[in-house]
């Protein structure tokens, strides 16, 4: 039990370093491509959190969607707009110190609230066995949560169509209009 706790705390510290360190690098790095790679590091840290919190399925989903899809998309668009990411470019605006101040105050308020609130933690018996099967999760998605699930599906479809329409090159339609709809 002691060893288990020690391992958990150790993992938590490492993952926190990954997540927060990666996060800081994301917002401060001058090179946008590096920022996006640090985003992947930070997301991987969050994925580790999910494993630590016994949400294995979420961890896999995080890897699949955040790291596999969203990060790739971001890296891709950074490369497509790369005239602006040459080194030496100033990446932060003039208000950065106001932003830092506001953010720091937000953080302080949040932390103070968190530590002062008494959370209705579940009893130890319930804490021990959160082993949720994926099948249960799937049943929940099409059962009690069917409407939000369908709304998300519709949203994704709209985003898909919208992204294609927006990013489509106008004007010079190629002779074979279907050749470029690959992405």
């Amino acid at each position: 039990m002691i060893i288990e706790h020690a391992v958990q705390i150790f993992a938590f510290v490492i993952l926190t370093l990954m997540t927060l360190g990666g996060g800081l690098a994301v917002v401060t790095s001058r090179n946008l491509f590096h920022a996006a790679l640090f985003l992947i590091l930070s997301l991987a840290g969050a994925m580790g959190y999910y494993v630590l919190l016994d949400a294995g399925f979420l961890a896999v989903v995080q890897l699949l969607i955040y790291i596999g899809a969203i990060s790739i998309l971001i890296l891709f668009s950074i490369m497509l707009t790369r005239g602006l990411m040459m080194p030496g470019q100033v990446q932060r605006n003039e208000q950065w110190w106001i932003a830092a101040l506001v953010v720091f105050l937000t953080f302080v308020v949040l932390v103070v609230t968190m530590w002062q609130t008494v959370w209705p933690i579940a009893d130890t018996e319930a804490l021990r066995a959160p082993n949720i099967a994926i099948a249960q999760l799937g049943a929940a998605l099409v059962g009690p949560y069917a409407i939000p699930f369908e709304v998300i599906s519709a949203l994704l479809l709209v985003a898909l169509v919208g992204a294609i329409v927006l990013a489509r090159e106008e004007g010079n339609q190629p002779a074979r209009a279907d050749a470029e709809t690959g992405e």
Binding site: F33, V60, L63, L64, I67, I72, M79
Partner: protein, 389 residues
């Protein structure tokens, strides 16, 4: 694996169960991470060169050792002693990380591969989803390599690689979805256990989709656009040499074996075969042998394809994924779902027949509609060539 832990605990009494488990899993990961890559790369490069040579009516490697079986080691030594070149403008950290990530991405898949009865690194509930997710890491590696090299060919190669990998990920996921629906689980061991009949016999269309998309996913001919020598030198690893190139190379072969292993697990019944089972050492060993044989057979098919077909054009490649494989996969998912819910499916035998019928009908319908559409577009093209009248 569990049996081994038990054995350790009973043979060496001071060992607690947790420690024994720890030792066994560390050893297993060490084998996967250090021994397996060497064996796989050496064995399958040799096999690939021999098979391709036979297809092209040559002999293939025959100098190093009897029948040239040491060719792989000679290549490895050559690779290790080569100069390690880093381009001046390259983004060093990213440039060095990319090959490592490419190899890790391939090795990570092995964690959920049931190579023998009871032998699996981590039998995750979301096992097969994990495979798909880890595959995404190799895209990141390709992008990192292509971008950090500061080379236009590398960058183009990376673009192509990612476009191709994303496009073919969807048919793979659809094929996997069909298997998951039939097996009723995403757990790798449960998928193997569900295959009283190997799924390739009842879901041949899904298997074909998976096979074709896997070949594209690991970037082998005829889908090796990402390293088409005649167009973009060597794609995203143009600037890599020596050990770093070797890492990409290892990653490629590990990926090949992993993909074939997944295909084996999903469609060919994994380690299942006569007398194989988790009860005795012999059964486990037999299971492992069956697994390797089946995987090698899948790899051999991939090599055969490589030796037979020519490289296709990039727009054809994307068209093929988006306009043929994805619709086919979607229709297949629907028909299989319907077949699984048919009221007549009482006995398991009828169930398999219904699935097979669903597959065949889907394939026939798809072929029919594609041929009609192709004929129409061909005649339209002909009319265009001949002039409007």
């Amino acid at each position: 694996m569990e049996a081994l832990i038990d054995w350790l605990v009973t043979t060496f009494p001071p060992l607690s169960e947790g420690l024994a488990r720890f030792i066994v899993y560390v050893l297993y990961s060490a084998i996967l991470a250090f021994v397996a890559p060497v064996i796989i790369v050496v064995a399958y490069t040799y096999m690939e060169r021999k098979v391709l040579a036979r297809i092209q009516d040559r002999i293939g490697p025959n100098r190093a050792g009897p029948l040239g079986i040491f060719q792989g080691f000679a290549d490895a030594i050559k690779m290790l002693t080569k100069e390690d070149v880093t381009p001046v403008c390259a983004d060093r950290v990213v440039f060095n990380l990319a090959p490592i990530l490419a190899t890790i991405a391939a090795i990570l898949v092995f964690a959920v591969l049931p190579v023998a009865p009871g032998v699996i690194g981590a039998d995750l509930q979301a096992g097969i989803l994990y495979v798909v997710a880890v595959g995404a890491l190799s895209e990141v590696a390709a992008l990192m390599a292509g971008w950090s090299s500061r080379n236009k060919f590398a960058l183009l190669g990376a673009y192509r690689a990612v476009a191709q990998l994303i496009a073919y990920e969807i048919p793979i996921v659809l094929a996997i979805l069909v298997v998951v629906m039939v097996a009723g689980s995403m757990q790798m061991s449960a998928i193997v256990a569900a295959q009283d009949v190997p799924f390739v016999l009842v879901l041949p269309v899904a298997f074909l989709i998976f096979l074709v998309a896997s070949i594209a996913e690991i970037g082998r001919s005829p889908f090796d656009l990402l390293e088409a020598e005649s167009e973009i030198v060597a794609g995203f690893h143009t600037e890599y040499s020596g050990m770093k190139f070797a890492f990409f190379f290892i990653g490629e072969y590990m990926h090949l074996f992993a993909s074939a292993g997944i295909a084996t697990t999903l469609f060919l019944g994994g380690w299942r075969g006569p007398f194989a089972g988790p009860d005795s050492w012999l059964g486990v060993l037999l299971g492992f042998i069956y697994f390797v044989i089946k995987t090698t057979a899948v790899i051999w098919v991939m090599m055969w394809v490589r030796g037979t077909l020519f490289r296709i054009r990039i727009d054809h490649l994307l068209d093929f994924a988006w306009k043929f494989l994805v619709p086919l996969g979607l229709i297949l998912v629907v028909t299989v779902a319907v077949a699984l819910k048919l009221p007549v499916i009482g006995t398991s035998g009828l169930r398999w027949v219904a699935l097979l019928v669903a597959n065949v009908v889907t394939a026939l319908l798809m072929m029919l509609s594609v041929s009609i559409l192709a004929r129409r577009s061909r005649s339209a093209a002909l009319r265009e060539v001949a002039g409007v009248e």
